[in-house]
């Protein structure tokens, strides 16, 4: 009996030990007296900008010697799965990055700390307001970026096709893509992923709308929507590589462009610096529209974890990361995403960078932006719209049927 007691005591001891072990993961890491540690998780430094983020962290720590920032950088593809698990498990960082689409979900589920006494005057107002929910400020804008049309000047010259201009429409793009595609030498004319992100944009370029004004019903299954989806889907196999060629796998498009085998590429300005050392001349232009122009704009924000014990230090860090001159300088000098500053004069150095020459297009595109349509069950909506369009692209469904099915399913998500 005594031994049984011993066993039970041992069990209790071991359980206590494991409990301690688990607890330490949520506690702040040991810091010297008077110092606090802020853990920060992000995706936007991944793949090329890690050292730029480190430079910003160093500048912050010099200005705030009693705060240490611990950075965790996660690839975008896994970021939201990891974040959700960390928040649910109580091990999320003190501060983290959220894109605008996911901000809505997190703000409504109570995992973000309200930010008090933020100096809103330093931010571009529309961007600042994007991180307000129910009249409370739950985040500050960190950066924004948009999508432009990249093109390989050498390939255009070779094929004797006139380079794209800001006045191009879909028709001009299609005609050029057809001339530039040379399947014999494995050169493709165009690349634009068949996905949710591209669809809501081409829909806007064609004058359609994705949701009704109250965001209670999907409205993309319209004549404009069908025409837009066809524009996207009919590129596949004709002027654009198919899934079987590898399209859609990670880094497929960037490798294709960099190897000089892709003439036109719809992608974000975050690709400027990775493409800087491409061995040919390339430039960018505002994306062609159909009945009107519309350029995708993405906004990232910074938030503080509601469960953070270091909320004050965390807010100091995110304010610095969002709006300090050090950050602005670093972002512009490294062609990272753009800083959300109110004072547009501060953005001027961006235009002084050498490649691409037509950087002005980045700001021109901002005149007619389109933001991603957002609903509470965002990820499900994105996945199913992409899946339906992919089915149409592979010829398993007509475009009309795919859009009708997608609309029925999105409406189902809006009801639940």
């Amino acid at each position: 009996m005594r031994l049984l007691k011993f066993g039970v005591a041992g069990l209790a001891g071991i359980l206590a030990l494991t409990a301690c072990g688990q607890g330490s993961a949520t506690k702040e890491a040991a810091a010297p007296d008077g110092k606090s540690v802020v853990r920060y998780m992000n995706f936007s430094a991944n793949d090329g900008h890690e050292k730029d983020l480190t430079a910003i962290v160093n500048a912050f720590q010099t200005a705030n010697p009693n705060i240490t920032v611990q950075v965790e950088t996660v690839p975008y593809a896994n970021y939201f799965t990891k974040l959700q698990t960390a928040v649910a498990g109580g091990t999320a960082a003190d501060a983290f990055e959220l894109n605008y689409e996911n901000f809505v979900t997190y703000a409504s589920n109570g995992s973000l700390a309200e930010l008090k006494s933020v100096d809103s005057s330093v931010y571009k107002k529309s961007l600042y307001d994007a991180f307000t929910s129910d009249g409370k400020q739950y985040g500050v804008p960190e950066s924004f970026s948009n999508v432009v049309l990249f093109y390989n000047k050498a390939l255009f010259k070779q094929a004797g096709v006139a380079e794209p201009t800001a006045s191009w429409t879909w028709k001009d793009e299609q005609a050029a893509a057809a001339k530039l595609t040379n399947k014999g030498s494995k050169v493709w004319g165009d690349y634009q992923p068949v996905s949710y992100n591209e669809f809501y944009k081409v829909l806007a370029q064609n004058g359609g709308s994705f949701l009704n004004a109250e965001r209670t019903e999907a409205t993309f299954n319209s004549p404009e929507g069908v025409e837009a989806a066809k524009f996207l889907v009919e590129k596949v196999g004709k002027t654009m590589p198919t899934e079987a060629d590898g399209a859609g796998t990670p880094d497929f498009d960037s490798k294709l462009f960099k190897s000089g085998k892709l003439a036109m590429w719809h992608t974000g300005i975050w690709m400027f610096s990775p493409m800087a050392d491409a061995p040919f001349d390339w430039d960018v232009v505002v994306e062609p529209g159909n009945t009107r122009k519309a350029s995708a704009m993405f906004v990232n924000g910074l938030v503080v974890n509601a469960a953070s014990k270091n909320a004050e230090a965390a807010q100091k860090w995110i304010s610095f990361l969002a709006s300090s001159d050090d950050t602005t300088k670093t972002r512009l000098a490294t062609s990272w995403e753009l800083p959300p500053v109110a004072d547009e004069a501060k953005l001027a150095p961006y235009l002084d960078q050498p490649k691409p020459a037509n950087r002005e297009a980045v700001f021109t595109a901002l005149d007619e932006p389109v933001l991603p349509p957002v609903i509470e069950r965002q990820q499900e909506m994105q996945d199913l719209v992409t899946a339906e369009l992919t089915s149409a692209a592979a010829g398993r469904k007509t475009v009309e049927k795919a859009l009708a099915d997608a609309q029925t399913k999105v409406n189902g998500l809006l009801k639940k």
Partner: protein, 289 residues
């Protein structure tokens, strides 16, 4: 057994009992609780009663993922059993380099699924994979494998069977070696042909090993996940999504932990029923020597 002894027994059981309790029993019971709620992992749970179960049972997606899982099991089990049996019979002969071959066939079993799935994804690449190039060399045009909804599941089945062949082989080999040689000798003396010896002696006396392999492979088959996640991600267009893949997506992509837990319990019930039927049914065909 005295109290004193029981104390010791319990004490020495602790190293395996604690993980079992913490990582298996507690999650099982709590998943039952979660399955009765609406929960996105972050906000507080809301009571949902049996709603998750009724939603799942009426959702066409549930039928699809169970159908895909059944197709997977139906394709995988005969393939892995026939292949494993063939290998076991071959490697039970006195061959040169037998030990080396046995080790080679077992190697994929101890290899990480992620590695195997990535290698197979590369081999089965429709455009420039080795398999389609070989098919092309003999004048056949290879299918689209994981990019074609018709072929995505067969691609997964093929790679899974390849990986698990070695496991089945080892179990059946042990079974073959436990069949006493005098039974064969007696049969030979009585004039039984090799074919008759295989059907009348080898297969019946191998049935306990066969039973074990079938039960384990069925359970593993219903829980297929890693290879699907890495090779196809459930695509294209959900054509290779399986039950456990759906459980993962529901929880970690869509924040619907309640429905995911309910789906886990539905899967558990199905596996339980099938296993009970198998154990009941074994009396009819399993012969313990």
């Amino acid at each position: 057994m005295g109290w004193k002894k029981l104390g010791w027994v319990l004490f020495f059981l602790l190293p395996s009992a604690i993980p079992l309790f913490v990582f298996t029993l507690v999650p099982m019971v709590s998943s039952l609780w979660v399955s009765l709620h609406k929960w996105n992992l972050i906000s507080p749970m809301e009571w949902a009663g049996l709603d998750n179960y009724t939603n799942l049972l009426t959702d066409p997606m549930t039928r699809r993922v169970f159908l895909h899982t059944l197709i997977y099991v139906a394709g995988y089990l005969p393939l892995v059993y026939a292949g494993g049996l063939g290998l076991a019979l071959a490697l039970n002969q006195r061959l040169k380099g037998r030990a080396f071959l046995r080790a080679t066939y077992f190697l994929p079993v101890v290899t990480s699924w992620v590695v195997v799935a990535l290698v197979w994804k590369w081999l089965l690449n429709p455009a420039n994979g080795l398999v389609n190039q070989l098919l092309g060399a003999i004048g056949l045009s290879g299918p689209g494998w994981w990019t074609d909804p018709q072929w995505a599941l067969p691609a997964v089945i093929l790679s899974s069977a390849w990986k698990d062949l070695g496991f089945v082989m080892v179990i059946l080999l042990a079974g073959l070696q436990s069949i006493p040689s005098d039974v064969y000798e007696a049969a030979t003396v009585d004039g039984a042909s090799a074919w008759q010896r295989f059907w009348r002696i080898t297969l019946p006396l191998l049935s306990p090993s066969t039973f074990f392999v079938v039960v384990i492979s069925l359970i593993n088959g219903f829980q297929v996940f890693d290879q699907v996640y890495v090779m196809t991600g459930g695509g294209p267009a959900g054509s290779s999504q399986v039950v456990v893949g759906q459980i993962y997506d529901l929880t970690f992509r869509y924040g619907r932990a309640g429905e995911a837990s309910a789906l886990s319990w539905i899967l558990f019930a199905l596996i339980l029923v099938i296993t009970v039927i198998q154990i009941r049914g074994q009396r009819k065909w399993v012969h313990y020597a």
